[in-house]
C-alpha cells in the first residue's frame, strides 16, 4: 500500500501566505519551486539570516515566515 497522505505546509513568503505541496524543503528547493533565479539575494527564515553556503541545508517547515529579498542596483 502506498501512503496517500498529502503532504502540505503553509508558510508566509514575503508577507503572503503560501501553500506548498511538501512537508518541508530547503532554501534552494524553495527558490526552485518559486522560480526565483535572482543573483543577489538575501533570505531570512523567521527573521534569521541564512548564509548562501547554507541554502542546501537550511530547512523551511510549516508555519515559517520566509523573506526572499532580491537586491538590485540603484541609489
Amino acid at each position: 500500500m502506498t501512503n496517500l497522505k498529502l503532504l502540505q505546509m503553509k508558510i508566509i513568503l514575503n508577507n503572503t501566505e503560501e501553500t506548498i505541496d511538501r512537508d518541508q524543503l530547503t532554501v534552494n528547493e524553495l527558490l526552485k519551486v518559486k522560480n526565483f533565479s535572482f543573483k543577489m539575494l538575501v533570505v531570512k527564515i523567521n527573521g534569521q539570516l541564512v548564509k548562501k553556503s547554507d541554502y542546501d541545508q537550511a530547512m523551511i517547515g510549516d508555519g515559517d515566515d520566509v523573506m526572499v529579498l532580491h537586491l538590485i542596483s540603484g541609489g
Binding site: 531570512k44 527573521g47 529579498l69 542596483s73 540603484g74 541609489g75
Partner: protein, 204 residues
Amino acid sequence: MTFDEIRAVLKKKTVGIAGCGGLGSNCAVALARAGVGTLVIADFDVIVESNLNRQYFFHDQIGMLKVFALKINLERINPDIKVHAFDLRLCPSDIVEIFSHCDVIVEAFDKAEMKQMIIEAVSNHLPDKSLVIGVGMGGWGDNNSIHTRRAAKLVICGDEMNEVSDTNPPIAPRVGVVANMQANAVLELLLGENPDQKIITGSL
C-alpha cells in the same frame, strides 16, 4: 505630538547613513529638517555633474567629496545638527564600528552587492539594530509601485523591480520618493506610530 515635542525627541537621536548619493543625500536632508540631532554619514565618492539630476548637491560643489559637501549642506539647513562624516569605502567591520551607536541605520548604496553586504553585516553583528534599505527606483512614473515592507528589523523601501541601468536611469523624483520613504520609516522607528494620524492601511 506637536512639532516641538517631536523635535525634542529627535534631537537626542542618532541615525547612520551608509552612502551619500541619491538616497543618502536626500534622506539626510529630510532627517536634518525634521530635527534628528546627530547623523553619521559615510561615502568615498566625489561629486560629478551627472549626480546633480538627483543628489542633494550644487553645481559649485562638483569635485568635492560627497561626505564633506553633504555635511556643509546639512549644516546650512540646520546649524545645530551634529554630522560625523567618514570618507570611507565601507566594509563590514567599518559598518559595525561607525554605526554601532546609531539608533537606526539607513542603507543608501547604489550597488546590489553593497546592499547585500550591509544587510549581512548588520544582521550578523548588530542584530538589534533596525536597517532601512532602498531597493528599486530606476526610471520615472508608476508612483504606486513604490512601497514599504518589513521583515523583523529590516525595512525595505522601493519598487523592488526597477534596477538602475543606462535605459532606466535614476532621476530625482523616484529616487527622492524612496529616500524620503526611508526617512519617513526612520521617523516611525524613532517616534513610534502616530496615534493622531489617520491610517488607510497598516504601517510599519
